[in-house]
């Protein structure tokens, strides 16, 4: 443990001493001080591709700040007001993909502030609200996300923008999907499709189909999901939209994982990572790294799985993707279980369950509950195991025989 961490631990220990009984605090601090990494002193076989992915150094976000701020300042005088506002929207979107969440929000809120004061450009105002909802969604702030979708919806309805309404329905679908309310999610996504007609709506249609693919995967409707992803990926390829194409690859990886076709899944995750790493799309990288870590766990390659979860953790922390962090804990729990470190495994599953509960992500909570339940059964603590397994069984009953553990974060668009 390096000196840096001793400093924060000093503060944390003081706090624990104030709140816990002496014995509890002492036991817990001992656990906290242990280095939980299993790869520190182990060598393991690694392919060149995995090596480059693990050694990937995400860009330092503040390097983006100066050029983007200069663009925002200088372009104000160079282009029309309407174009400037659209540029702000695009920059906000770009920063979100790059994992610069706060900066993305700063730009979008700044745009909304300008639009409030001038009272024109209703369509851009609606898009700015939708953009902010997307940013809150990425941080799992569901109430804020919902509020801004409603604001966007009101404006799109007032200007009778069918494409805009479709986008809002799509966003509502993803919001309900994240909260594991799959019936509501599907209703919104299907409603979204009904609002679309012409050729110009193809990009939005591709987004909605991708999200329907996610729901179909979760429900075990694999053929439908494959079909959704095939059409969506063709559209994104035509549109040269590599960011969203990478997300479709990730979701295909997730689909194959659920079908236990692990080699195919690895191919898709690698395709996603290759694009996302090359373009520094951090939000895609985090989930695809988790996807690979899950597969390596299933293939009993704990060291490599750990290396991928650590990298995923580094990225997810940077972009404050709490849902991914919750999933990382689950996979860390699986890895520790594989290493027969029951205590730490239990703790990691508990972390995952707690975070998913806080984030109202019922599917992920149920998945981690299954893992913890099985661990407790293995440790002959059947009574404790039962409450977790009962909770999970009750949840999965409503998903029509879906396989119990997928272990991946879906990536909605």
């Amino acid at each position: 443990m390096n000196d840096k961490h001793n400093k924060i631990i000093k503060d944390l220990k003081e706090l624990l001493n104030t709140y816990l009984t002496e014995s509890f605090a002492k036991d817990f601090m001992k656990v906290l001080d242990e280095d939980i990494s299993i790869i520190a002193n182990r060598s393991f076989d690694i392919s060149e591709l995995d090596k480059t992915q693990i050694e990937y150094e995400p860009p330092k976000g503040f390097n983006y700040r100066i050029p983007v701020d200069k663009i925002l300042t200088l372009c104000r005088k160079l282009i029309t007001e309407e174009n400037y506002f659209n540029l702000m929207l695009d920059l906000s979107q770009l920063m979100l993909f790059a994992g610069e969440v706060s900066y993305s929000l700063e730009i979008a809120e700044n745009l909304l502030g300008k639009l409030h004061s001038n009272g024109r450009h209703a369509s851009i105002k609606a898009e700015a609200n939708l953009m902010i909802s997307k940013i809150h969604w990425s941080q799992a702030y569901w109430d804020d996300c919902n509020y801004f979708i409603s604001e966007a919806m009101k404006i799109f309805k007032s200007i009778e923008s069918e494409a805009g309404i479709a986008k809002c329905e799509n966003m509502l679908g993803t919001l309900h999907g994240e909260k594991s309310e799959f019936d509501e999610a599907q209703v919104h996504l299907e409603k979204a499709l009904k609002h679309l007609k012409g050729e110009e709506d193809l990009p939005i249609k591709a987004m909605i189909l991708t999200n329907l693919g996610v729901i179909n995967t979760i429900r075990g409707n694999f053929e439908k999901a494959v079909w959704n992803y095939k059409i969506a990926s063709e559209r994104f390829e035509e549109l040269k939209d590599v960011r969203r194409l990478a997300r479709v690859y990730h979701n295909l990886g997730m689909l194959y994982s659920q079908m236990e076709k692990y080699d195919d899944a690895l191919d898709e995750f690698n395709k996603c990572i290759t694009i996302s790493k090359d373009m520094d799309y951090l939000s895609n990288c985090a989930v695809a790294y988790i996807g690979k870590a899950y597969i390596y766990t299933k293939q009993n390659n704990s060291a490599l799985a750990e290396a991928y979860t650590d990298k995923a953790m580094e990225i997810a922390y940077k972009i404050n993707d709490t849902l991914s962090i919750a999933d990382i804990y689950k996979i860390k729990g699986m890895i520790q279980n594989e290493m027969d470190n029951f205590q730490l495994s239990e703790e990691m599953f508990e972390n995952s369950i707690r975070l998913n509960k806080d984030l109202e992500s019922k599917l992920n909570e149920a998945e981690s509950s299954v893992e913890l339940g099985r661990l407790l059964e293995k440790a002959k603590r059947e009574d404790e195991a039962k409450q977790y397994l009962d909770y999970a069984n009750k949840f999965f009953k409503n998903l029509n025989g879906r396989k119990l553990t997928v272990g991946l974060v879906q990536q909605s668009i």
Partner: protein, 413 residues
């Protein structure tokens, strides 16, 4: 700082080409790429002491893991009320280390779970603090007012004093100095300063800052010394670094640069030791400003760049705006007028977007100096008049006089 984000730059260029005509695009590109290279070359020669001061470890994903483990463990161990109090304190630690996202997440959790009005009020104050650091004034004021109602109904005068203190800092950040002072004095009247050393010291620090802005150095020093005395008794090292920062600023503004640097160095030493990033960033910036006054442009630029890295990561928009001001002055003094104008306009744009009147006025003053240097009389008059109007309104006559003299100097020439 050299442009090292080639993939990102490529994407930005693609964006910009869609928005700009060819000649505008070329012009903008030129301004985006030009200024910093020279500064970087020279700053390689930075001395070892400064190098050491600028070296901090920002690799924080392991901290997240520790914090999550502590929360999960404590949730199982503590009663609801005690757990929420614990969460509030844990979030405060995260806040002081510049971990705004996780502090926000923990305060939200405490707010959601709080069984009593008082712990809920405490979490609301924490959230208000997070919002104000992000310059989200509306939500900050809303959270303070909600906390205030809860403290009022519990007849908790200390809680009310904390609300008034935070209101004072928010209005201070907004540049409404008279209102800020009113709230701070009201807060002071609500507590027993002999028995509540910590809150009293916080208020003394804030009053010290307000009196300094109002050019009342005697009272400013008096309050800062009182604050330092109390923090010494309490052993609150982090706060001592904050007081040193403010004492340094007073010395710097009085032209006592050696004393200022000595105070800043003390502040840096403590803030680095304590991982007090939120203050470290401000000290770096203050040191950059004093180095500017000593014509050490290259060192000033290095300190400003390091401050930019921390403030961008901590989503501290107001400090980012201040850093652009310093970078603008550096470029102006190096006769790179285009770069200087861009940086100062960046600063002005961000301050205006966040309604920060005082910093906007300071930047307007610097723009006035720039336009004076390049004989753009109309722009000079425009910016200096705005700055003068502000400083007159907050009872800072010396600053207003300096601006008036600069305005008259122009009229005479």
């Amino acid at each position: 700082m050299q442009l090292t984000y080639s993939k990102f730059e490529h994407e930005l260029n693609r964006f910009l080409k869609g928005y700009l005509k060819d000649d505008s695009y070329d012009h903008l590109k030129e301004r985006l790429d030009l200024p910093e290279k020279e500064v970087d070359k020279v700053s390689e020669k930075i001395n070892n002491f400064y190098k050491e001061q600028l070296q901090i470890d920002n690799h924080q994903s392991k901290d997240r893991l520790r914090i999550d483990r502590i929360i999960t463990f404590s949730e199982k161990t503590l009663q609801a009320e005690k757990f929420c109090k614990f969460l509030n304190e844990l979030a405060r630690i995260c806040l002081s280390e510049g971990k705004l996202d996780i502090a926000n997440e923990i305060f939200r959790k405490a707010n959601k779970l709080s069984p009593s009005g008082l712990t809920k009020a405490e979490s609301l104050l924490g959230l208000a603090d997070v919002f104000s650091r992000r310059a989200n004034w509306t939500r900050s004021l809303e959270a303070i007012n909600n906390a205030k109602s809860l403290y009022k109904s519990a007849d908790d005068s200390r809680g009310l004093a904390k609300c008034e203190n935070l209101l004072g800092t928010v209005y201070g950040e907004l540049g409404d100095i008279l209102r800020a002072k009113k709230y701070l004095l009201s807060s002071l009247s609500l507590i027993d300063t002999d028995n509540d050393l910590e809150l009293a010291a916080n208020l003394y620090t804030n009053l010290g800052i307000v009196y300094h802005i109002q050019e009342n150095t005697t009272d400013s020093i008096k309050y800062l010394n009182k604050a330092q005395e109390s923090y010494n008794i309490l052993g609150k090292h982090k706060n001592i670094s904050e007081v040193n920062l403010n004492i340094g600023i007073i010395h710097s503004d009085a032209g006592n640069y050696d004393a200022a640097i000595s105070a800043f160095d003390k502040a840096i030493e403590i803030a680095k030791q304590e991982d007090y990033l939120s203050v470290l960033c401000l000290v770096y910036l203050a040191k950059a400003e004093v180095l500017l006054k000593l014509n050490d442009y290259y060192y000033a630029s290095d300190f400003a760049d390091k401050a930019l890295e921390i403030s961008h990561n901590a989503d501290d928009k107001l400090t980012v705006a201040d850093i652009y001001k310093v970078k603008g002055i550096v470029a102006r003094e190096l006769n790179d007028f285009e770069a200087s104008e861009t940086y100062l306009l960046n600063s002005l744009r961000i301050n205006n977007s966040n309604n920060n009147e005082m910093n906007a006025a300071q930047t307007s003053f610097e723009l006035g100096v720039l336009y004076d240097k390049i004989n753009d009389t109309e722009s000079k008059k425009n910016h200096l008049s705005k700055a003068k109007e502000y400083f007159s309104s907050i009872s800072a006559p010396a600053k207003a006089d300096i601006i008036q003299r600069l305005l008259e100097f122009n009229s005479a020439s």
